[in-house]
């Protein structure tokens, strides 16, 4: 039984790997498709406030361990897309920029102090921030790009940031990793504060 399982990895790798050239080739003659995907993919990566918050989500998920680490990457994109839906439809949501900057502060503090609230509290908190992040992006969507390609790039980039956070968070398996992770959370909270202060002073 063990042998058959290990035999499957090459097949899986071949299957998944063979999807990649297809995606690349699909760009041929599809300028709108690749343009839309690139625009969507880079959009969340170019906003540093968004990047640090998404990595903090992953770090916290890794710190909380199962089941949070599994629930988070499945539910976050859906809640964020719901926020994007609100933004795209033009529903008023005040304090979005403050909410985004505050999310980095709050999530960074959670990681820095290694706080472990009940799962539903953590979920509600992350979900609230997910709506803010999605809303901001939904309201900023360009009108020219292929909407599906844009949305796909956007979702993949955000999911990738979570995975990066989760992957970094795995350092807590080593003794020195636990304080390092907390220090990372403190840095993220500092970044969030840096983004938050101008918003509070300006508006």
């Amino acid at each position: 039984m063990k042998r058959t399982i290990s035999n499957r990895y090459p097949i899986l790798a071949a299957l998944i790997g063979s999807l990649l050239p297809a995606l690349a080739l699909a760009h041929v003659g599809q300028g709108e498709l690749s343009g839309g995907f690139t625009a969507g993919f880079t959009h969340p990566l170019l906003g540093l406030d968004h990047v640090v918050a998404m990595i903090a989500v992953g770090l916290w998920g890794a710190q909380l361990g199962a089941p949070a680490i599994w629930i988070l990457p499945v539910t976050f994109p859906l809640v964020m897309a719901f926020g994007g839906l609100l933004g795209g439809l033009g529903v008023e949501l005040p304090g979005v920029e403050i909410g985004i900057a505050a999310s980095a502060v709050v999530l960074g503090v959670m990681v820095a102090l290694a706080l472990r609230p009940p799962l539903w509290v953590a979920g509600a908190l992350v979900g609230l921030f997910a709506v803010f992040h999605g809303y901001a992006h939904g309201a900023e969507l360009p009108e020219s790009a292929d909407p599906l390609a844009y949305a796909l790039g956007f979702v993949v980039a955000t999911g990738g940031l979570h995975l990066v956070g989760i992957a970094i968070g795995l350092i807590r398996r080593w003794p020195w990793g636990v304080p390092s992770l907390q220090a990372g959370g403190a840095i993220i909270a500092g970044c969030g504060l840096y983004f938050l202060l101008p918003h509070l002073a300006g508006t």
Binding site: L15, W70, L85, G87, A149, Y150, L152, F154, V155
Partner: protein
């Protein structure tokens, strides 16, 4: 053991098929008149609106295992071909405006079900496969150029759909057999991404999709 051998044969077939499919994607640029079969294959393969739900349908079917999932794919392609055949000859009816939002909705529904890893009643699963097979088939059939044969075009559609949904089926089934938890979660994450894309596009609907 037989399932294992079948899995390998399917995997090899899918890899070969995709290599072939990717080649035709290049040919699309060189000559648009590559024939009804390739036109039928390329039309869904070059639109994410069709690629993503078909992959996700395969994942949804594959979450139940290879044996149970095959029938769902079969139901999907039967509806796909029949609906494409219906759409091909006539002028566009008034309700054709409902087809694109339904297709985007299929991303949300199918992706959401994969994310939830929720075991739907089998009849409902088949009903969904038939419904979305019909909507995707209609969208593709309505795009058929007048000088191409509708049955051959529909055959190309079916080939492309089986390729993509077959991929999803085989990958989800293989991942669900692995011992650790994360491969199953990875399938659910993929479903969640597909559904999120659908929700975001619905949010953009007023701005982009509805535009002429």
């Amino acid at each position: 053991m037989t399932v294992d051998a079948g899995l390998r044969a399917l995997a090899a077939g899918a890899v070969l098929g995709l290599a072939f499919g990717a080649d035709t994607a290049c040919a699309h640029v060189a000559s648009a008149q590559a024939g009804a079969f390739y036109a039928g294959m390329l039309h869904p393969l070059t639109a994410l609106e069709h690629v993503l739900p078909m992959l996700a349908l395969g994942l949804l079917a594959g979450q139940r295992g290879l044996n149970e999932g095959q029938g769902v794919l079969l139901a999907f392609v039967v509806a796909l071909a029949a609906s494409a055949g219906l759409a091909a000859p006539g002028a566009a009816p008034a309700w054709i405006g409902w087809i694109p939002p339904l297709n985007v909705g299929s991303l949300v529904v199918i992706g959401g079900l994969v994310a939830a890893a929720w075991r739907l009643p089998t009849a409902l699963l088949y009903a969904l496969a038939l419904l979305f097979g019909a909507t995707h088939g209609y969208a593709n059939g309505a795009a058929l150029p007048a000088d191409l044969s509708p049955p051959i075009f529909a055959l190309g559609l079916v080939a492309a759909a089986l390729l993509m949904a077959g991929y999803g089926l085989v990958v989800a089934d293989a991942l669900s057999r692995l011992k650790p938890n994360w491969p199953r979660v990875a399938v659910r994450v993929a479903g969640s991404w597909v559904a999120a894309v659908g929700i975001l596009v619905l949010g953009m609907g007023g701005k982009v999709v509805g535009a002429p």
